[in-house]
């Protein structure tokens, strides 16, 4: 369970950085192939986990340049470690984040962005001081969703991180194992825990999105 949480937390953090950057680029820049990039980012939502896992295996495996670079840097292969589970969860959850963040960024009234640029703000300052605060709730809700999705990933993790008890065995995989081994009680407990945590996270996400943004109370 702790392994699952750790994987989910780290991958959500990474998904936030990567996802927000991608979403910002998609929402603000005009370039050729923009919609293709958006589609590519969304692909993991619709592809079967095995396909995604296969791509990642090829991309990050011990024979691939990326895999070799990782081995050279950290002295061990990436695949079949808990770090690989993070990568799996990352690819599984980023699309959700990018989708909602892009929509959120694009929903911000353009005149705020124009005003910020007109008042001498750099793009970074515009993002940190104007766009992000204005979309904070949606982004947090999207992060919560991404977190829940990271937590629940099964297929991709199995493909590239494997099923090594104590090292790469996340809750979702442990449940599969327990059922296979006929340990119904263990499976039930794990199922309940995972459902409970996910429910909690999703209800937080819902609260964030249903609370209307806009007129908020001031401190005074």
């Amino acid at each position: 369970m702790w392994l699952s949480l750790r994987v989910a937390v780290i991958s959500t953090a990474a998904a936030l950085v990567m996802g927000l950057w991608l979403a910002w680029t998609l929402a603000n820049r005009e370039f050729r192939g923009k919609e293709i990039l958006d589609a590519a980012v969304t692909l993991p939502l619709v592809l079967p986990p095995t396909v995604l896992g296969y791509y990642l295996l090829v991309l990050l495996g011990r024979n691939s340049p990326v895999g070799q670079l990782y081995e050279w840097l950290f002295g061990g292969p990436l695949v079949f470690t808990w770090q690989a589970a993070v990568v799996a969860a990352l690819f599984h959850s980023t699309p959700l984040l990018v989708k909602s963040a892009r929509a959120a960024f694009e929903s911000v009234d353009r005149s705020y962005e124009r005003a910020a640029r007109n008042l001498g703000a750099s793009e970074m300052r515009l993002f940190l001081r104007v766009t992000l605060p204005l979309t904070r709730r949606t982004i947090l809700a999207a992060a919560a969703l991404a977190f829940a999705r990271s937590l629940g990933d099964f297929g991709v993790t199995l493909m590239i991180a494997g099923n090594i008890p104590g090292r790469t065995q996340t809750v979702a995989i442990a449940i599969y194992d327990a059922v296979e081994a006929g340990k119904g009680n263990v499976a039930l407990v794990l199922v309940l825990i995972l459902s409970g945590v996910s429910l909690l996270v999703l209800s937080v996400a819902n609260r964030l999105t249903t609370n209307p943004f806009g007129p908020r109370q001031t401190a005074i």
Binding site: R114, A115, R117, N118, L119, G120, V130, R216, T218
Partner: protein, 356 residues
């Protein structure tokens, strides 16, 4: 001062007609009003100057600094242009207090001076008491003042205002005009103001530029334009005139007279240089230049009979609307004893007649 020559084409899309902006103008310090109907390209012109929209070609200079030059490929980012911009919806950041909004704008100014400047400008715009509030807790007038203060705190070289009086009621409008006059005096920079309200041009404008369909159709002082609209289109846009189709029947340069035919009536006016007998033109005359009286027998010299259609109350005078779409403005007391008379004659002054 600002000098601009801007061209921008938008191809026609599936649901939109194409549009071509092609304007050239100069504005000195003082208030220059960009006047025109909606869709004339007024806001687009501002957006090109502020750098939100990149023109296709042309050149924009402010105080000899090039903001845009199509031929040289110069297109400064909006943040490098130092143009104050007051947005139609104010665009105050909703998650920041009023003071924070000003701080955001003044970020480049050293800290101590920034603090002093913000306090100073808050004071000047009567906002000190509400500086800790967020925009949604402010009244329309306070938001308006804050957006102008925010645009001015960076000491821009140019102030752009996009229909600032839109949606304001009369007292707020008067307050806005007072602020803008103050800005004109204290900041000494060119102010470009977009409006489609001809009264506003007269009230505020030192200079006036009339835009229509993406082109400058006339420019000059508001007084000049109101007295001498260059053509019938502009007279229509200003919406202040009686416009009657007439035919030139006689021209006499020696006695400085002319005769015009309007429907079945003959009117005598001054000599119109450059016109020929038989020309069809528009007689253009303001309602307050005409006078009207109850009809008594035949219409006299330069008078035409007309039936009163409706009386419109104005703050100081009455506007009488007659058949043939002629309006006359009268003092209230000139009308009071004749309020049930239907048949009138309208008298045209001989010297004030102008044709377009």
């Amino acid at each position: 001062m600002i000098r601009a020559r801007i061209r921008k084409n938008f191809a026609a899309g599936a649901e939109s007609a194409g549009f071509a902006l092609d304007v050239e103008f100069e504005a000195e310090k003082g208030i220059t009003v960009l006047f025109g109907p909606s869709g004339a390209g007024k806001t687009l012109t501002l957006d090109c100057i502020a750098g939100f929209v990149r023109p296709d070609e042309g050149r924009i200079l402010v105080d000899d600094e090039i903001l845009y030059d199509g031929a040289a490929g110069v297109h400064l980012a909006p943040r490098a242009r130092h143009c104050g911009y007051v947005f139609q919806n104010y665009a105050l950041f909703p998650h920041m207090t009023l003071r924070k909004n000003l701080e955001f704008a003044a970020a480049r100014i050293p800290r101590l001076e920034r603090h002093r400047k913000i306090s100073e400008i808050l004071e000047k715009f009567h906002l000190s008491d509400v500086s800790g509030r967020r925009p949604h807790e402010l009244s329309g007038g306070q938001k308006q003042r804050c957006s102008i203060a925010r645009a001015l705190i960076r000491e821009p070289r140019l102030l752009l205002l996009d229909e600032p009086a839109r949606g304001l009621d009369a007292p707020l409008r008067a307050e806005l005009y007072a602020i803008l006059r103050q800005v004109r005096v204290e900041f000494g920079i060119p102010v470009l103001l977009v409006t489609h309200d001809s009264g506003e041009c007269f009230e505020l404008g030192d200079e006036m530029i009339v835009l229509r369909d993406g082109r400058v159709v006339q420019s000059g002082t508001p007084r000049n334009i109101f007295e001498q609209p260059a053509n019938i289109e502009i007279a229509r846009l200003l919406g202040l005139f009686n416009l009657l189709p007439v035919e030139v029947r006689a021209l006499d340069p020696g006695r400085n007279t002319s005769r015009l035919r309007y429907e079945d009536f003959e009117l005598t006016g001054p000599y119109f240089p450059g016109r020929l007998i038989g020309d069809h033109a528009w007689l253009c005359i303001r309602p307050d230049q005409l006078s009207a009286k109850p009809r008594n027998g035949r219409a006299g010299f330069n008078e035409i009979p007309a039936a009163l259609v409706r009386v419109v109350e104005k703050p100081e005078r009455l506007r009488l609307e007659f058949s043939g779409e002629i309006a006359v403005e009268l003092e209230r007391r000139q009308f009071e004893s004749y309020s049930n008379v239907k048949d009138w004659v309208i008298e045209f002054p001989q010297t004030g007649l102008r044709i377009l």
